[in-house]
Amino acid sequence: MRVSHVPPLPTNHCAPVTYALLMHAIEVVRLTKSYGAFVAVRDFSFTVKPGQILGLVGPNGAGKTTTLRALGGIHPPTSGQVRIGGFDIIAEAVEAKRRLAFFPDEPRLFDYLTAEEHLEFAAAIYGVAEWREPMNALLDEFELTEKRKSLPAELSRGMKQKLMIACGFIHTPEVMIFDEPLTGLDPLGIRRMKESITRRAQQGAAVILSSHLLHLVEEMCDSVAVIRKGERIAYGTIEDLKWQIAQGRGDVSLEEAFLAITSEEPRA
């Protein structure tokens, strides 16, 4: 049942991209991450092209966050290679990270900077010269304009999440890595966030999104990688996955496909 071909470029994403369409924005080759004897991720490979959204799904403890952290350069892989925009995340870390925005599941903001100052700081870190206009636009987009002078302690969990994501958007990253991006958001916030992420993908950003909300993955992503016990057990477009699972039994949801895939033993 393994679906292992590289997914084709989505036809609905035809907006201009910042560099050659054929180039992979994210290239992961045989990524392995171990902690002592425990192998958290084993031989995980996939690619994401500009404009594409890849969903990373798997049961709890499958190795999703470990994979995303390795992609974000937060911890070095034990073996294998991760390339962001053509740059190796270890050997050319600075160049790779300049193209990247990593969004952890828990918004950890600086307690002593206001919302506005967070955006100013993020702009400076990524070398954005003209940041005032994008900052105002992002504050508007994430409904934080009224809270621009507030410290994180004065913001709700959802607002913190939005602010963290706004900080990641300010340098218009070519690659975005989201770990459970919708946690803590209200229904309207979820809808706006989905639109924000999709729009940026349409503008050419390559996105990896890890979530347990399978309907969200189904709605937003072009392709999906399923990981269990650190191993990739399925990879392909959502339609391919569903078709493989359905086996002519008619239409199935991604949730059904996911349950069917993850209930089996991993293959060698």
């Binding site: 902690y35 470990t66 952290r69 974000g72 350069g73 937060i74 911890h75 070095p76 870390a93 600075v94 160049e95 790779a96 990270k97 300049r98 990247l100 925005a101 990593f102 952890p104 828990e106 950890r108 903001l109 600086f110 307690d111 002593y112 900077l113 100052e117 100013e120 700081f121 702009a123 400076a124 870190i125 990524y126 070398g127 010269a129 003209e130 940041w131 410290l151 302690a153």
Partner: protein, 572 residues
Amino acid sequence: MTRAFVFVTVRSFRNRFVSRLKRLKNVRYLLSFIAGLAYFWFFAFRHLFDGRSAVRNMGLPASELFVDLTAVLVLAMMVLAWALPKQSAGLTFSEAEIQFLFPAPITRRQLLFYKILRGQPQVFISAVVMTLVLFRGAKFIGVWACFVALSIYFTLVALGRARLKIAGVGFLVRLPVIAAAAVGLGYLLWRTVDITAIHGIGAKLRPGGVPDLPALFHGPVADTILFLPRFFGQTVLPASVGQLLLSCVVVLAAALLFFELAARTNISVEDASIRTSEKSAARRARMNEQRIGRHVTFPRIPPPFRVPAGARPEVAIYWKNVTAGLRISSPWVMIMGVCALYFVVQSFSTSEPAIRLMMAMFALMLSATFPFFGSAVFTQDMRLDLQRIELLKSYPISGERLVAAEIAGPLTFLAAVELMMLSVAAIILRTADLPKRVEFLATPEFVVIALILATPVCAAQLLIRNAVPILVPGWALRAPDEQRGFIVMGQRLVTFAANLLVLLFVLLPAACIVVPGLLIAKFWLGGSMPMVALTTVLAAALLVFEVWLGIKFLGNQFEKLDVTDELDAVAS
């Protein structure tokens, strides 16, 4: 139900113990555990088995006098507990306990029983420590029984106060009544005191003296008032095994009675307990936030400058940390400023040379120690950013540049305050009447050396402090339930000792340049200032080079740092 309660109590205690034990497989934790254990041994338990030690003789002898004194202490606690202002029925439960137990089909009596049972491991440990440290003449089993009974009694009193409040007897009514009762009991007891028991007590307690002192209180009044408390005294300081057993039985029977009474108060503890538990958690979080170098005291202070367009990421990190320093550590800058001003004003307004000398010495001592303790106050660097290490690691900046930028912010404050304090000390020293052997402190050579070396020394000290979160992140950021114990104590000792050692190691090469340079200048070049300045600049350059090496090393380590190993447990 009792089985479930005992299970969770015993398992929690055992699991916590086992998880701590497992951590010792890690050499860094083992090292800190040994250091912590050694500290406790040398400062608390070393004299336990040393017959010659005076500390061993501090154990109270099992005499009637000390039984009476212990009984009075117990009585006072029992009476005064009713005067405490807290009058909600709130008992502190953990979030998990509230989630599992409150909706569970258990009676209030069972909930109370669970609460008392859960407190027992702590009561046990307290009894062990008290037996070893304070009541060394006592029998552990007696101290434990005494503590068990008292812990249940105080729960009864807490619920009793809440019941009284419901009955319309509030704190303001209780307070005078309890005060009057305490005074009355005290007066009645005082009338029964046998002064001869106290007479010559010092001589009798000398090593080798007879500890068989008679009772302090006599007569039926004293016997009535102290009937129960004396059993507590006898459990702690029994004269014989028979007395120990008897008093333990009575005290534990009293404990059962206290529990029965507490259960019969039948007061709604649930809502109040949720509030109490929330308050307790909030207090802990607040205390954590308000630790020195973390609490945002002045959130509205504007950033000192704007980051120039297209500036390097290092500038952004520096900007962030200076802004943080202004908002968090400004009070310390003010305190140091006020101190400096006070020293100057006091020195120049007095005609007493001794006061001027004292002010000069204070200023000098403060500036000499400030790089060390000041670096614990200005923590707006890797230490404060450790919680956001995921974010830091995703920034497009090399580890080396990040570490340098991180310490630049607090260094600005530390060096500024240090230079101010040194200048103040130099000014006062020039006017002070110094003793011959410390006259060199007021020489221009000394001032030049101090001023030139101040900033590199501060940088070295900050770098050492920043090594902890990078090399041993689990020591710098601890989970809420890991703030105490042998391991944490050991970690603090090891980091303190390592800090001093590394600082010494860093300063040694610079000293090897400065000292011979000074000697040459003094004895061969007639105190040549250019020579002094040259050697000092060379030493400062060497220090800067060492700091640069340290930054390169820590930057490299930062890039290798794997946050998952140690920090996930803290974050969760």
